[in-house]
């Protein structure tokens, strides 16, 4: 396959970026998208040029590190797939591909295709945890969880925190991410003691990080590599309303 790539290049967080054109020949359709970029980087290194910086880690679709917006869609054209698991057979010989970093005010670009997503970590620190006293573990059967609730909590917990929802949202809203984290704990007995405080603090942190407001267009759900449903946003709205009105702290 022969491809024309338009790639966002940016020296550092302070410099102004631009789209750079590259021609890449001999791409196999069995390569993953990231392997295609590896080939491009080898070519650039041989030419004595600066390779393209991009985020990646597990390359098996479970860590949420890869973060490319491919032709305007975070993680590219294949549904429910991270870009590391996207294969070049999804593209045609002679295609032009636009590769950009995940964009949001709260995700400043550090270099080329890498944006700083630590805002998501700070949201988790604000309340995305449960407090467990260290001691002998209690009997597992002391906390009954229904199959339905367990399944639903697992669906929410499928979020790998990649930030594609934010990258896809025209408002850079992090509602789907926060909603997945809030719902995951709100559905389980272990999450109950901090339930109200959690949703209030995580939403407050989300505002402080500068993420936008949700307009219910559901682009987040469409690009989510783990298919987290927007029903969790509705659940978080319920959680928030209840906590806002009944919070005793």
């Amino acid at each position: 396959m022969k491809l024309t790539l338009y790639i966002w290049r940016q020296k550092n967080a302070k410099s102004k970026g631009f789209m750079e054109k590259h021609q890449l020949d001999g791409v196999s359709e069995d390569m993953s998208f990231l392997e295609m970029l590896d080939v491009l980087n080898e070519q650039l290194i041989h030419e004595g040029k600066e390779p393209v910086a991009f985020d990646h880690d597990c390359r098996e679709g479970i860590c949420g590190t890869c973060s490319l917006t491919i032709n305007g869609t975070p993680h590219g054209p294949e549904a429910a797939t991270t870009c590391c698991q996207l294969h070049m057979r999804k593209f045609k010989d002679g295609d032009s591909i636009y590769i950009e970093p995940f964009r949001a005010k709260a995700f400043p670009v550090i270099k080329d295709l890498i944006s700083d997503r630590s805002a998501l970590d700070r949201i988790i620190q604000a309340g995305g945890f449960i407090s467990v006293n260290t001691n002998q573990a209690q009997d597992a059967n002391a906390l009954p969880v229904s199959k339905e609730k367990a399944d639903l909590a697992m669906d929410a917990a499928a979020c790998i925190g990649c930030g594609a929802c934010i990258a896809a949202c025209p408002n850079a809203s992090s509602m789907l991410f926060v909603a997945a984290k809030v719902s995951q704990f709100a559905l389980l007995p272990q999450g109950q003691p901090e339930r109200k405080r959690r949703v209030l603090s995580m939403v407050e942190q989300m505002h402080q990080e500068g993420f936008g407001a949700c307009t219910n267009i559901y682009e987040c759900e469409a690009v989510c590599p783990k298919q987290v449903s927007v029903r969790f946003i509705a659940q978080m709205n319920r959680e928030y309303m209840g906590a806002y009105m009944k919070n005793e702290e």
């Binding site: 936008g212 307009t215 219910n216 682009e219 509705a234």
Partner: protein
């Protein structure tokens, strides 16, 4: 705590958008059903209009609620729009939407268009500013007969909403001829087209708005959500169809032959 401190939370802002939107929608439903009475006839339609006018203080309470809802809806949406623009300062070189509908992405623009249309609508029919010749007519109902009569001669001593005996022995009841006002307005093709376009934009706005309000208020469930989304579209279509049917019928001469 200021009245607009809810703006600090995007979720509370969205709830304000949903609740004020629902209040405005409830009015629109009533307004549509009420106005469709024009197809029953002049007597019924004018009596309905007279009934609304005669509610006194209640009318002002109702107008205050509508005005407050509209102001909150507009202020919150404009605030959120700027807030959201700030959250995504840099756009992509290539934009591609997978799932978002056109109506969901253009809410602020259809909203602004609706605000302009609403201002014109009020200036035209409610305040009689743009076409005062449409709103000046009165009609008279004869007591007992229940029939609507139009007197060409001016009867200035008749007071609106009171039965008065006129020299020829008939007892008349004076009310505004709202029917004639609507017919005269929509006989003008330019005004009719503005209304039809305005109502289509309202329908387009509602298509996203109704299901969005459900989501914001936390009502999303896999069993009901597909019906809510389909219902939202169908309902918006019916509202728009109902409202468009009036100017179209006037233009085609189906109603208002007499006026």
């Amino acid at each position: 705590m200021s009245i607009v401190s809810y703006l600090k939370s995007t979720i509370l802002s969205k709830i304000v958008m949903a609740v004020t939107g629902i209040i405005l929608l409830l009015f629109l439903i009533g307004h549509t059903l009420g106005n469709l009475q024009i197809f029953i006839g002049r007597e019924v339609f004018n009596q309905y209009a007279y009934f609304l006018q005669s509610t006194g203080e209640l009318l002002w309470v109702f107008r205050a609620v509508m005005l407050l809802s509209a102001i909150l809806h507009i202020v919150t949406s404009v605030y959120l729009k700027f807030y959201n623009l700030k959250a995504k300062p840099q756009k992509y070189a290539v934009t591609n939407y997978v799932k978002a509908t056109l109506s969901s992405r253009t809410m602020i623009w259809t909203g602004i268009a609706i605000a302009c249309f609403l201002a014109y609508h009020l200036l035209h029919f409610t305040f009689g500013v743009t076409n005062p010749e449409h709103t000046k007519y009165n009609g008279y109902v004869e007591k007992g007969a229940g029939l609507y009569v139009e007197y060409n001669m001016p009867v200035p001593e008749l007071i609106e909403g009171k039965y008065i005996e006129i020299p020829d022995g008939k007892i008349l009841f004076k009310q505004k001829d709202v029917y004639k006002m609507v017919i005269l307005g929509f006989k003008n093709p330019f005004i009719s087209i503005v209304y039809i376009i305005g109502v289509i934009i309202v329908g387009f706005h509602l298509n996203h708005a109704i299901q969005s309000a459900f989501q914001t208020l936390g009502l999303n469930h896999p069993r009901y959500s597909p019906s809510i989304i389909a219902g939202s579209s169908t309902f918006s279509f019916l509202i728009a169809l109902g409202l468009i049917s009036i100017p179209v019928s006037v233009l085609l001469g189906i109603i208002g032959g007499v006026a």
